[in-house]
């Protein structure tokens, strides 16, 4: 996770860049709030992440629990679960993605407008989990769509989901609007839509998106 204060280059924005944090804090005590557009933009986005309302398996129950009064995802501004992908910022892939379901998940992802983020919640969404060698379970949703936050667990507790959400907020707050490390959604060459796999005779075709997912190679003893 990128920490915004440590990874930042010298700020190119004069509005906030010429002042140190101490000076800004001093001004704030006098009732003057100085900020940059980027900071304001990221502050607004990170505190109103609207997730897409769908669940795939038992992790969805924990996601629902995170929205209830005991855990209260509304504390982080993410309580507005949208029934339409057109209005959602965040896709929480909560549970086992079967191969029959995978094209539909990719289609939903393609229908979400930028900026959009993806959380793979639980062992199944990350790697297939306990069903990894099953005949109809996708071995991780990151074979087809880019994932920002992985939350391990089977299922993860609601606290873990909230932790993942705050990590995503930190990532959003560190994003830049311009410069060499511009955020992904502001770079026109970065794809926003990904090819939807077809139902083949024996498996999904292609079985993974090679531009997105390459298996890591572990050096092993022969």
């Amino acid at each position: 996770m990128s920490d915004p204060s440590s990874t930042r280059a010298p700020d190119p924005f004069p509005a906030a860049g010429n002042l140190s944090d101490a000076e800004r804090e001093d001004l704030r005590r006098h009732g003057i709030l100085l900020t940059s557009l980027e900071e304001l933009y990221n502050w607004g986005r990170s505190n109103s992440i609207w997730p897409l309302q769908f669940g795939l398996a038992c992790c969805a129950i924990e996601m629902i629990a995170a929205a209830t009064a005991r855990f209260d995802i509304a504390r982080f501004g993410a309580e507005i679960f949208r029934p339409s992908p057109r209005q959602a910022d965040l896709m929480i892939v909560s549970g086992t993605v079967t191969k029959k379901m995978a094209p539909l998940v990719v289609r939903l992802w393609n229908q979400m407008p930028e900026p959009k983020y993806c959380i793979a919640m639980g062992a199944c969404a990350i790697s297939g989990g306990p069903f990894k060698q099953g005949y109809n379970v996708l071995k991780g949703i990151d074979r087809y769509i880019p994932v920002d936050i992985y939350i391990p667990g089977c299922p993860p507790r609601p606290e873990a989901l909230l932790h993942g959400l705050t990590q995503l907020q930190a990532q959003i707050k560190g994003e830049r609007m311009s410069g060499p490390d511009t955020a992904r959604h502001l770079r026109p060459e970065e794809p926003s839509e990904f090819p939807i796999p077809d139902y083949g005779a024996h498996d999904l075709e292609p079985p993974r998106n090679p531009d997105l997912f390459q298996p890591p190679s572990l050096p092993r003893k022969a």
Partner: protein, 230 residues
């Protein structure tokens, strides 16, 4: 409720042409079952449902079994008289035969009205490849509908007379039947962090060529992203 033998005897007097067989369960559960033949299964199921003493009006479970063909070695001991007049020799003769495989559908039926059950019914196909048709019992017990579709999907038994025989879990264009014993899953074992057993065998095909210094790699394992394959 009558015992399974009594039910079988009553069925045989009612349907003399039917071929019925008791399949005994030797385990402690002793859940014996009744093997029906495909030709008369529908009539027998209707009789079991409508008979006033049985009233088996509810099928709680229908599932499939795959019995692959297996080779059986029969050993017969024979005594051969010695032509020289000595003691008789005992010779073992081994004959191999192949027991043909089949697919089986199993139904657990209960009576809600009379509060008894289960009676376990079985049906077997002639083989595992081309003669895989069995009569559907969905017209008798409505609850078999999705379960017979699931059996069709996963085992490939074709149920004749089913109102809507489509795949249930897999997509329509899927060609295999994943619960059969000889099903081979697609080869996507390229990333297995801790493989063992059969998974290890399949994952090994995806392992990169052995590194130049394996002892160094063993002491400091590193995850390195693999570049795009040429």
């Amino acid at each position: 409720m009558e015992s399974l033998e009594q039910i079988r005897d009553r069925l045989l007097t009612r349907f003399p042409a039917a071929k019925l067989e008791l399949v005994l369960n030797p385990g402690p559960a002793a859940e014996h079952s009744l093997l029906l033949d495909a030709a008369s299964a529908r009539e027998i199921a209707l009789f079991l449902r409508d008979d006033p003493f049985l009233g088996l009006d509810y099928c709680s479970n229908a599932t499939g079994i795959d019995w692959p063909g297996k080779e059986i070695v029969d050993t017969v001991k024979k005594t051969v008289p010695d032509p020289a007049g000595g003691p008789e020799k005992i010779v073992e003769e081994k004959t191999k035969r192949i027991q043909p495989g089949c697919l089986e559908a199993v139904y657990h039926v209960y009576s809600m009205a009379l509060k008894h059950g289960p009676v376990i019914l079985r049906m077997r196909t002639a083989n595992r490849s081309d003669q895989v048709t069995l009569p559907s019992l969905t017209p008798v017990w409505k609850s078999c509908d999705f379960q017979e579709r699931e059996i069709y999907d996963l085992y490939g038994i074709v149920f004749e007379g089913h109102p809507d025989l489509r795949r249930l879990l897999m997509w329509d264009g899927f060609k295999d039947h994943p619960m059969r014993r000889d099903y081979v899953a697609p080869d996507d074992y390229e990333w297995e962090p801790t493989p063992h057993g059969g998974v290890l065998d399949r994952a090994k095909a995806h392992y990169p060529a052995a590194p130049a210094a394996p002892e160094v790699a063993a002491t400091s394992p590193q995850i390195t992203p693999e570049g795009p394959k040429p």
